[in-house]
Symmetry: C2
Subunit: 201 residues, 2 copies
DNA sequence: CTCCTATGAAACGATACGTTTCGTTATATA
DNA sequence: TATATAACGAAACGTATCGTTTCATAGGAG
């Protein structure tokens, strides 16, 4: 009783006026990221994020349409250092790409987030559109690895860089989605070699 | 009142004794398949399946641990005609594989089911294990395409057939998950060619 | 005839969703 | 200074789906 009446601490974030509180946004995104890293997909809910961020659910729903939009923001906050090393050979670039992506996914928890986004995209139209945009963008980016190879005469001019990008992305997607993002440099080297040089005797 | 007392039809399936009713199993699987085909992933729930099959939820949960297991059974019921055509060349086999899988996924609705299973596997441990088993099995099967190539001297003996299978499966998975299973024979031919012959000038 | 198990209707508690209400805060505007 | 506006968070709400339990009923096995 007495201590309540006297000076009960109330350190909840209050409004800072008629504008968005950046502290709130930061707290929510960090809470979402932390829950995703610690509990994984299973323990992730808007309720849990609100509780951990000491924010109200209405606040979250005000700024993000739903779980998927929030996770997309989290994923984009976790951008890796660029993986376009331009090693001079296409095989080297592909190897660097594979190594970089798997390191990023495995070390930062971004892999867990991306798994969830792909899963959500299978039943949520908004997530599907966002993922399609993102995939198309990345398709162009990794296509540049192969375009550079064509430009410098290393690769045949009639190859389809889009297909190359799909094969490369498909490989890492399937590995991620089946929980197999081990990073054996020898294996990744072999992947790069087989993709570029082909399989013929 | 009168008609109820007289002879109210009660055509619900009852127990046929202390053993599983095959009729019930069939009705549940068909209802699940139909809902998946008509409503898609969104409208699919155990409740909906039970209602459509005129079965009780406890009956479904008795024979299937959950939604994912049921869908896996549905998927396995939709098996295609074998796609191992053994055309004589690895490139031809890969092309036939791609054509066959996309046709199966697109025509039978099996693609929708598989999308859902992959999505579920991202948050359900049981589904993840089931999918891993299935993927490992398919990995061996499609690896045989490349093993035959090695055996007949068409492919280099030191290639990794597992990686080949992962590249192939990754390609179709990513296309499915991003809703791009168009079947342009010319493009699929190009995929097969680039995978087998390589990209070098 | 007496177990044992299957079947399905109904209701349950639990969980998460997305929303509404309400009191509080502080900026922006008149 | 006075008022309107908008963000914030707590609490509670209604809804949906989950997976389970209870119950009455059915029929084969021993």
């Amino acid at each position: 009783m007495t201590e309540l009446a006297a000076d009960d601490i109330d350190d909840r974030r209050r409004s800072i006026g008629a504008r968005r509180n950046p502290e709130t946004e930061r707290a929510i995104l960090e809470a979402a990221e932390a829950i995703m890293a610690e509990e994984g997909i299973a323990g992730f809910s808007i309720e849990a994020v609100a509780k951990r961020a000491r924010a109200g659910k209405p606040t979250i729903y005000k700024w993000w349409p739903g779980k998927t939009a929030l996770l997309l923001d989290v994923y984009h906050r976790q951008k890796p250092a660029s993986v376009h090393l331009d090693t001079g050979s296409v095989e080297g670039d592909v190897f660097a790409f594979l190594t970089g992506v798997f390191a990023h996914w495995g070390d930062t928890g971004a892999g867990q987030v991306f798994r969830f986004i792909v899963a959500e995209a299978q039943r949520d139209a908004a997530a599907e559109a966002s993922l399609a945009d993102y995939a198309a963008e990345r398709r162009i980016q990794s296509g540049e690895i192969f375009q550079r190879g064509i430009d410098r005469g290393e690769l045949a001019p009639d190859i389809d860089v889009g297909i190359c990008a799909d094969l490369l992305a498909g490989f890492i997607w399937k590995r991620l989605l089946t929980g197999r993002i081990e990073r054996d440099p020898e294996e990744l080297r072999k992947v790069a070699r087989q993709m570029v040089r082909g399989l013929l005797a």
